[in-house]
Amino acid sequence: MADPLLTLAGVHTHIGQYHILQGVDLVLPRGGMTVLLGRNGAGKTTTLRTVMGLWKPSRGTVTFDGRPIGGWPTPDIAQAGIAYVPETMAVFADLTVAENMILAARSGPIDTARLDWIFSLFPALKKFWQFPAGVLSGGQKQMLAIARAIAEPRTLLLIDEPTKGIAPAIIEAMIMAFAELKRETTILLVEQNFRFAASLGDHVAVMDDGRIVHRGAMADLARNEALQQRLLGLSLDTHQ
């Protein structure tokens, strides 16, 4: 693959006594969406957190945009152009939606045109602009978490299970928003909802026991039920 955006080569991560990532090899092309699939405990979240510097790799290299970022402090990784939306959303509940967005725009006031674009993706945020984030619904918090990640242009978005616990109506809205987002930036998405992942993903990587066990085009995996059965243990019809 020519000039990949993100490369993990033989990455091992320990959390306390647990050896979670056991030699992850992952190459992320520039542009589009790569989906990281796998059963619970396979190491998907740990992979994102390791890229973000929230857990330090004990071995292996993480290269982003040609720079070795493995072991960098998290703020430096964020400043290099990576944004992170954690599984917990981690919106600042006591801060208003506006204040959450102000903090996300590190370089100064949020660009008005960009804010209008964000509002076009997530209209609810405009409505609740002066509301504390803590009073928003789960889906609205997820929208805020994603909006915060794109408050300024970023090279790579790491998004961890955005559909978890979210109402189906909001998931449909999110599919439209992500389809728009992936035209602007590269996305690495961790997802359990295969239908959601298959409708958006361009590339796919499947993890098991702390390693990547499959890489390829999402369309190929979506078409191949036998492969889904082997890798994920479920067919497209049932794994939603």
């Binding site: 964020a78 600042f92 204040e99 102000i102 209209p123 009073v135 929208m143």
Partner: protein, 340 residues
């Protein structure tokens, strides 16, 4: 960038914002409850003003500590060192400026006090910065070690005070124009208490403005909720924490000066004496909550003053009972900070 062709729509009825005024009413209710027991309204006013002054001093000391805990989960049992060092630095400055202190002119008195407070705050701010870098930084995330090493720091600071200023009890006289009381009808209100209330209110308002109207303040509030996410947004939370620690130490130094002037004596253990009340205040206020700390400080001071007058034998235990009652009502404190 293009505008999304089909905007995401959501079922987005406006959520209700709940304003929680109940804790604010507690000091009002407590003072109203005390009135029939105290009996004499003049005495009640005197006790209430004394409680407000004491509460403001405790708030000034505790406000930095609650942010330090909220921001980095650091248990600093050495906070008392900054109270004592601040008081002793001010003692030295006021000693050098004894002419300004003893003259019966409010302007000169306030200038002397202002200089003493400035030296105390700068000194304790710098000491706080060094304390964080040398003592606290190596034990981030290790509560037991934090307790042990910060208590060790407190002991070392107290011993150094003995070496520098001597181990005997010092007198810390109020500047001449701040002695005595102002008479309002039958009620005599000590001048220094008015000053203490004013300083406390100014510190509280300044903190609210900084926390709510500045980017640094937003970062502190966000960091108290979820420091990891603040880092993931690209901010160096540890640098922010060092700043908050130093400012919190400087505020403890200011509180130390006020506390020593209030008691008119000081020893190296002055910090340890008040820290019990400070810890009660930050626990009942909600760890990391400046507003909770403010209300908690007033409540604790009211309880201490009313019970010292009505039932002196239970005065010490009264605040423990207050803490138990509040934690039974709100286990996370009066204004719990939303945590990740």
């Amino acid at each position: 960038m293009t505008v999304a062709p089909a905007p995401a729509t959501t079922p987005d009825a406006l959520p209700a914002i709940k304003h929680d005024y109940l804790p604010i009413l507690l000091p009002v209710a407590l003072s109203a409850l005390a009135l029939p027991f105290v009996g004499n309204p003049t005495t009640w006013v005197t006790l209430t003003v004394a409680a407000l002054a004491m509460g403001m001093m405790i708030f000034v000391i505790a406000s930095g500590l609650t942010l330090v805990f909220g921001l980095m989960d650091v248990l600093n049992f050495g906070h008392g060192a900054f109270i004592a060092v601040g008081a002793y630095l001010a003692l030295s400055v006021l000693g050098l400026l004894s002419g300004w202190v003893q003259v019966d002119a409010l302007g000169w008195n306030l200038m002397a006090l202002g200089l003493a407070v400035s030296v105390a705050m700068i000194g304790t701010g710098l000491l706080g910065w060094a304390f964080e870098r040398v003592i606290v930084k190596p034990v981030y995330g290790q509560h037991l070690k934090q307790i042990l090493i910060t208590m060790g720091g407190l002991i070392v600071a107290e011993q150094l005070i003995h070496v520098i200023w001597g181990g005997d009890q010092k007198a810390m006289a109020l500047p001449t124009a701040l002695r005595g009381a102002v008479l309002i009808g039958d009620v005599a209100i000590e001048k220094f208490r008015i000053l203490a209330v004013a300083v406390g209110v100014v510190v509280f308002v300044a903190m609210l403005v900084v926390l709510n109207r500045t980017r640094i303040g937003l970062l502190i509030r966000a960091g108290v909720e979820n420091a990891e996410m603040v880092e993931a947004l690209g901010y160096r939370i540890r640098r922010l924490f060092v700043g908050v620690f130093a400012v919190g130490s400087a505020l403890a130094g200011l509180g130390g000066v006020m506390w020593a002037l209030y008691r008119e004596t000081l020893t190296a253990a002055i910090g340890g004496d008040v820290m019990v009340l400070v810890f009660i205040v930050i626990i009942i206020g909600g760890l990391g909550s400046v507003g909770g700390c403010f209300i908690g400080a007033i409540l604790v001071a009211m309880m201490a003053n009313y019970t010292a007058f009505l039932l002196p034998k239970v005065a010490l235990a009264s605040n423990i009972l207050l803490m138990v009652a509040i934690l039974m009502w709100r286990p996370q404190g009066l204004y719990p900070v939303a945590k990740r």
